[in-house]
Symmetry: C2
Subunit: 633 residues, 2 copies
């Protein structure tokens, strides 16, 4: 087995232009509504004042341990946006904030508004609970995005200094602490810092954090004992009651096989594990990533791609435990799984990773934001009795800016390249620019995806050049047709991609048509919540039934195997969506008045029409009942 | 509408002898195994040392705020046992413990091991969270049971002194605190103290606690503000985050219509509300009890009678939210609902209350203890993927002794009398002694209930006497036959009871035969967890499928409407139970290897035999999958 490495490299954000009927309104809303609204929230809640260092003890809005991460994620999102959509006023706002962050840095490089302003004496006393390195990670990611978008090294230099200081404090040398953060994040951020600066020491520090985690004696115990001897109390004893596995620190990461604990933490560290494995050639570490991938995708993932069923630990329970109504399925966790999938994709070049990315992009991630860009789901249940609604913001506000940065960087997930191949992972209109050897190539996509399975590709390049165009055959697709310059063509399938080899010339056109019937999806019988139920899916889009579209209560409906379900374009609905409709059987509720249980013959069901809408668009028309999984009649 | 009062009075524990094939082994195990084992647990965990006052600061096993209640419940259970089964050694053990409790009493009457030993300066500073009056309530109940069983007034006098002191501290007078306990319990205990002593002041104090609860300004806020001004920290801020409704203190009790908050607290206070309404003629308070009864039984009760679906608040959520696998359904809450039902039954004489009592007795309460009497469920889920098991004991050990006192006092729930009527609420073999006017009557029951619906009653009395024998027609029964002295007879039905009027003579015999077919129970369509599912019930017994009895995974089974389900006596199984068996369709799992979701034609189901056992007996043969609600094929 060859040593792990990245077999392919994503095309950078700036190489991809998106011009797509499905995504354009979402991305525009993200830029023009969501990002400004989130800035205002950061300002109004005191997060920016905390960054500015103006808060003083006794004042309200005491800087919280999380806050730097919110600001970091917002800056990162804003910079991704600037990378593709320059805007002078917006740039000024970002740069002002960068100035505040820089000014907050302490002489030794340390940078954390909570600890600096609220409890300077307690720096590094509670890595387990207090998100200190997590905040550093998000500020590093912001710095990388800022540099990539603007070329300005200011924030990058600040964060390099902070990372260098962290590298002095933590490690296995004499006078170093063998610590790691309770909430992983800094590991993947250090990889990015390594990639953008070329400095090996950041990769080494990330590798140390990955490698040290879960070793005995447990650092969290050592640290807790030190707190006790200093007379420091425990800040979040209830959180720590979840134990080592809550932060994936129950055993060394390379020995782990089951996704466990807090789901966001899990996928942030698994993502960093892939990077470390690829960049250091660590086959054992990559094998752990593969085991964890199989565990989550074969046993612990919702049909929307969402992960982490339990509110109790914001994370994982046992295999096949996927309750719908109580699903936690945190937006951040779903985004984090996408990060993990995207990294494995670059290593293995296998479409199953892109399939999960796509499942998340069209379902379990964008469900987190309203179509108007102002309201957010922290949790993404797959059924609701009617009380669930998106919120403007959260005290723990990790999800809204996480989604903003994902949307603002969407283009970077669409394509990858290697020396002689270009992979199309996502079907979305727009252009990609890349080089094959010395030849600059422009690939244009036009499609009505995800509503239509027809994708038209046009290639422009100055001189003819041979390379493989690798077109993903989505896992949901059972029949496809391929044409090159109007003629049908067969192509071999390599790891789930159609390999279209050709000496490409300017004006070459490729058409891929993916059959996109309505599918009735069943869950593995061990998923007790979905026994006897089906989910409707068409292409990558998972559907749900919302009460507003249906006369009979959604909970009462069942769909017979023999009844057809048909798509119908609804241009006026939810910004334009394909709905699904058909006949269902409804169990009448009238006869139940006053009784909760009843024996004897069941009531005769009534035949009623039903309408299903894309899951990600639910709760855009007020609260109400919703269900993804419907009974089979 | 006449003022509320008790229309009937339960026959006391000592008037009822149980001699019954179903109950005898359970009650014997309770006396001979469970009570001694629980005493040993109280001793080994430091609870008895705490009562003895020997604990000193710095030692392990610091007396916990709950502990007096555990000891109180154990003494109460032991005294119920002594009332029906005198035992000199056991009596000595109880009396020794009574001596310890009495010695613990402070000069002013106060009695609480935690506050006296651990933080004497903080008495009455945190009624909201610290169970101080709750512990008092359980010690009062113990004292009443001790007096009733032994005639010894020692503990009763101690607890009267404590209650008198509590009555000085709390109330609406000058220099009194307008407080009430965060965990209700003292209210129903004070009613018992009133009933056994005849002292009106205990009824008045209970009435005050019931009446004051939920008034504004909220006492819990006043108290919290006092703590802050004294510099006292919050002990359980996470618990208080549930808010006023957690302890039913969000509005005055008489205005409440929806069961809410912590389920044990809820039914303890609702029980006291019935008592206060009946004893003070308070129609408005009784109306609230009726509203709350309807809310729980029509919208929020499991088919096992269990209540309180959520672990989050150990209590209630929204109407029809009755998940099976995550059901909290605490044993104590189920017992507390039984208390509420029993009290409403005495006021209204309506069989629907006895129906719920019966549902609880055969299902959701006794599920809480293993057949060998040594292991306990705190929560009683209606489905398990295999990880759930009973435990020996709990840090918060409320449930085991609660169940012990229920079982030891079972006889007191079986019958009621009024001036001219004798009600038979529960069908169980044994004898009841009561007086009709000046005539002593002996009623003997023989039955194989709940496995058979045939009940034989024999009456003995010295002189003929006319009265109504009121025989409950269970809600589950759709056909019955009645014979008096061998001859068929019709009888009018009054509030769910067959009213058999006669001038009874010695040797009169009554036979009631209740048809007991296997029933397929459906839940209201709004119970999403049970849509398309059925539960099997026969007589009052709710069944479940355990993995150990079934070849195909329990989760994969579905039962067709057309397939018969039959009872079969299994004398060697689980101490002798009627099992149900039939054919089911099993969804094969083999073809799913490695996939979590799949579209296309469902697999063909296989026809397999299935066996169901009484729900209350599950997990007596090791852990494994279990389901009460099975899919309809």
């Amino acid at each position: 087995m060859p040593a792990p490495r990245y077999a392919l490299r994503p095309l950078p954000l700036t190489a991809v232009t998106i011009d797509d009927a499905f995504w354009n309104p979402r991305l525009q809303t993200n830029r023009e509504v969501t990002l400004p609204a989130q800035y205002a929230m950061c300002r109004d809640t005191g997060r920016i004042a905390a960054m500015a260092g103006t808060w003083q003890p006794g004042q309200p809005q005491e800087p919280h341990i999380f806050w730097d991460s919110d600001v970091g994620k917002w800056v990162e999102a804003a910079c991704h946006s600037l990378a593709t959509h320059p805007d002078a006023a917006f740039r000024q706002q970002v740069d002002d904030l960068v100035g505040l962050i820089a000014a907050q840095q302490q002489p030794d490089g340390y940078l954390n508004s909570h600890y600096t302003l609220v409890e300077p004496q307690n720096r590094w006393t509670n890595l387990r609970d207090c998100h200190e390195l997590y905040c550093a990670g998000h500020l590093i990611e912001a710095a990388v995005a800022h540099f990539q978008a603007t070329g300005d090294r200011r924030l990058l230099d600040v964060m390099c200094r902070y990372a260098d200081y962290i590298g002095q404090v933590f490690g296995r040398g004499p006078n170093q602490r063998r610590g790691y953060c309770g909430h992983e994040e800094i590991e993947l951020a250090l990889i990015k810092l390594h990639q953008v600066t070329g400095e090996t020491r950041y990769l080494e520090l990330a590798t140390y954090f990955v490698d040290e985690r879960g070793r005995e004696p447990f650092y969290f115990d050592i640290e807790a004992s030190e707190r006790r001897s200093r007379g420091l109390g425990e800040v979040f004893p209830g959180v720590w009651a979840h134990g080592y596995a809550y932060g994936q620190a129950h055993r060394p990461l390379r020995e782990q096989s089951e996704v466990a604990g807090h789901a966001v933490r899990a996928f942030y560290i698994y993502s960093a594990m892939v990077d470390v494995a690829a960049l250091t050639g660590d086959a054992g570490l990559l094998a752990a990533c593969h085991r964890l991938w199989r565990d989550v995708t074969e046993r612990k993932m919702y049909v929307t791609g969402a992960v982490g069923p339990s509110a109790h630990n914001e994370g994982f329970t046992s295999a096949y435990d996927l309750p719908n109504e109580s699903a936690y399925a945190e937006t951040c966790a779903n985004i984090a799984l996408l990060f993990f999938a995207h990294r494995l994709l670059q290593v293995d070049g296998d479409s199953r990773y892109a399939d999960v990315m796509e499942r998340l992009l069209y379902n379990g991630t964008i469900s987190g934001v309203s179509l108007d860009g102002t309201r957010f789901f922290y949790t993404n249940p797959l059924a609701s009795a009617g009380a669930v609604e998106r919120q403007d913001w959260f005290g723990c506000a990790c999800c809204p800016p996480n989604l903003a940065r994902l949307l603002a960087s969407l283009g970077s997930y669409a394509y990858s390249a290697s020396e002689r191949r270009l992979w199309v992972h996502l079907y979305l209109g727009g252009q990609a620019r890349f080089a094959m050897g010395s030849t600059a190539v422009l690939l244009e996509q036009r499609t009505d995806y995800p509503w239509s399975g027809r994708i038209d590709l046009a290639i422009d390049l100055p001189v003819p050049r041979a390379f493989d165009l690798m077109l993903r055959l989505p896992g949901w697709c059972h029949r496809h047709r391929l044409q090159v310059n109007g003629e049908s063509q067969e192509a071999p399938i390599v790891k789930g991609y159609l390999k279209v080899h050709r000496r490409w010339q300017a004006g070459d056109r490729v058409r891929l048509v993916l059959d996109m019937p309505v599918e009735r999806v069943a869950a593995h019988p061990r998923v007790i919540a979905n026994a006897g139920r089906l989910a409707l899916q068409r292409g990558p889009v998972v559907y749900c039934l919302e009460q507003i579209d249906n006369q009979a209560p959604v909970r009462s409906l069942a769909i017979a195997d023999a009844d057809k379900v048909q798509p119908r374009w609804a241009g006026d609905l939810l910004g334009g969506v394909m709905v699904l409709h058909g006949a269902a059987l409804a169990e009448p509720e009238e006869a139940w008045s006053g009784s909760l249980y009843r024996s004897g013959r069941p009531d005769r069901c009534q035949r009623v029409p039903f309408v299903a809408v894309p899951y990600a668009t639910w709760n855009n028309r007020g609260p109400g009942e919703m269900a993804v999984w419907v009974r089979r009649a």
